[in-house]
């Protein structure tokens, strides 16, 4: 059987830079090609995810590397764009039309709250166009229903920042204590500044091919891409309304279910997880929805230390978005970069021991969620 194999990955550090998003993408893609040992002239198609980079960003990356005439597709799926680019690359390979394809995610974002034309103009004027508001709603409901505490929210940030010390490509690389997090200023209650990730700049890329994976290589084992259902009251679709119904499954749970089904694996078989910690509460909720613990126990899970490096199932060993920042079109591929390198044993002091199966999870505006399960062969 033929596999979709990640033969190379590259990442430009996430942070603030003078270079353009396209420039960052060129650097990340060249690193991925070198890692793969694949020549640009052997790439058959390119998929580029971004939200702010304007017209033809993927085409400009290709132009910089040299006009080879390949098909280029730009994708906009907000924060889950990287996952969507990988899935588009997979479909291109499985079509049989291409041998080797690349997925590259790039972004260069303004500071502060995201200015999103996703929201109708009237919602902006009256102050409802607040991107992290949905995270605050999720946090508040979780605290109300399950007794999750502010300290547990702070512990997520403490954990991920502790991991970031070992990641040279993260934007923030110092330890931050839970007390510092709890002393940071209020932004969207109950979330404080250090419980929220920073929109920033960066790029990440992967080279994929289709053939049986060789020993030491990483293959795609399963994937799920879903959008929110009407009735999910809180989420990245940021609805003006929803019907009063209970028991509607959240988009993360549904995407994870699909990825587990396709991979034939379950949460107990994971060795590491890179998930969408746009904010501390989303990490706690995602650990539940990905099936890493029972509903309502996400706060206790982080408190137990199980999701720290060295724990039972490290979550966001890279430092997560809380430490790396979130260049939205690139962040999903940044997760892929981390998991591929973890499965190859290349992560030095943040290496998860004996890592064989890893999961990525990204959530984006519109109610998108992509979940990828990768396996080191």
């Amino acid at each position: 059987m033929s596999d979709v194999v990640f033969v190379g990955v590259g990442m430009h550090p996430f942070g603030r830079f003078d270079a353009s998003a396209v420039d960052l993408g060129v650097l990340a893609l060249r690193e991925a090609l070198a890692d793969a040992g694949v020549a640009w002239s052997d790439v058959d198609a390119l998929f580029c995810s971004h939200m702010y980079a304007g017209t033809g960003a993927g085409h400009k990356i290709a132009a910089a590397l040299g006009y080879t005439g390949i098909p280029i597709t730009n994708l906009e799926n907000a924060c889950s764009g990287g996952g969507a680019a990988v899935l588009a690359a997979r479909q291109a390979l499985l079509s049989g039309d291409y041998e080797t394809v690349v997925a590259v995610g790039i972004e260069k974002m303004p500071r502060g709250f995201m200015d999103m034309d996703y929201f109708d103009g009237w919602r902006q004027v009256i102050g409802h166009a607040v991107n992290p508001l949905q995270f605050a709603f999720g946090a508040a409901r979780h605290m109300h229903e399950h007794g999750t505490t502010e300290r547990q929210l702070a512990l997520v940030a403490e954990k991920n920042h502790a991991h970031s010390v070992h990641n040279p490509k993260a934007m923030y690389r110092r330890e931050i204590t839970a007390d510092e997090v709890l002393a940071s200023r209020r932004v969207v209650d109950p979330l404080r500044l250090l419980m929220l990730c920073t929109p920033n700049e960066g790029a990440a890329a992967a080279v994929l091919t289709r053939r049986p994976a060789a020993a030491g290589e990483v293959r795609l084992r399963g994937q799920g891409l879903k959008t929110a259902l009407r009735g999910q009251a809180i989420g990245e679709h940021m609805p003006t309304d929803s019907p009063v119904v209970d028991g509607v499954e959240g988009v993360t749970r549904r995407a994870a279910h699909e990825a587990y089904e396709r991979s034939g694996l379950g949460p107990d078989e994971l060795d590491l997880v890179e998930l969408q910690d746009t904010d501390s509460a989303t990490e706690i909720i995602a650990t539940e929805e990905l099936g890493l613990c029972a509903v309502g126990e996400g706060g206790a899970l982080v408190e137990s230390g199980a999701t720290r490096l060295g724990g039972r199932l490290p979550v966001n060993a890279s430092g997560g978005l809380l430490s790396k920042g979130e260049p939205v079109g690139a962040s999903g591929l940044g997760q892929v970069y981390e998991v591929v390198n973890q499965l190859r044993g290349r992560c030095d002091r943040r290496q998860v021991e004996r890592a064989r199966i890893g999961l990525t999870h990204s959530l984006g505006a519109g109610g998108n969620c992509s979940v990828l399960i990768l396996e080191g062969v």
């Binding site: 004027v125 009256i126 932004v187 009407r230």
Partner: protein, 128 residues
């Protein structure tokens, strides 16, 4: 609160000024409700909708006090936005008002009112 006669609603199909209430669309075929009003039913895809006034009282399902002004916002900070659960069977996102935002709690009873923001009129539910 009574809105100034000259004030312009921030959007079409959001609320009526007299009497003050949110507007919704109810599907005559399947009964599905939406806010704001819509041209067709997203539950059954039929075109047979009627515009109705939504409940002026409800319960606070969730809320957040926002301390930094988002892009395009014409009002002041801090302010609260929440989701109000209406007896109609709909949850709507709304600005939330209270004497003391710090005292708001999930489950609070809230009542509809019009809310001037900048030079337009918007809508809110106020803690009763």
């Amino acid at each position: 609160m009574t809105a100034p006669a000259t004030a312009v609603p921030v959007g079409e199909g959001l609320f009526s000024v007299d009497p003050p209430a949110l507007l919704g669309a109810r599907c005559r075929a399947c009964g599905a409700l939406r806010f704001p009003v819509a041209a067709f039913c997203a539950a059954c895809q039929r075109d047979d909708l009627e515009t109705i006034r939504l409940a002026t009282e409800g319960e606070l399902y969730v809320f957040s006090v926002i301390h930094a002004p988002p892009p395009g916002y014409a009002g002041e900070v801090p302010y609260a936005v929440g989701i109000v659960e209406l007896a109609d069977g709909l949850r709507v996102t709304s600005t939330i008002l209270a004497e003391e935002l710090e005292d708001l709690a999930i489950g609070d009873r809230v009542r509809f009112e019009l809310l001037p923001i900048g030079d337009v009129v918007s809508y809110a539910y106020r803690r009763a």
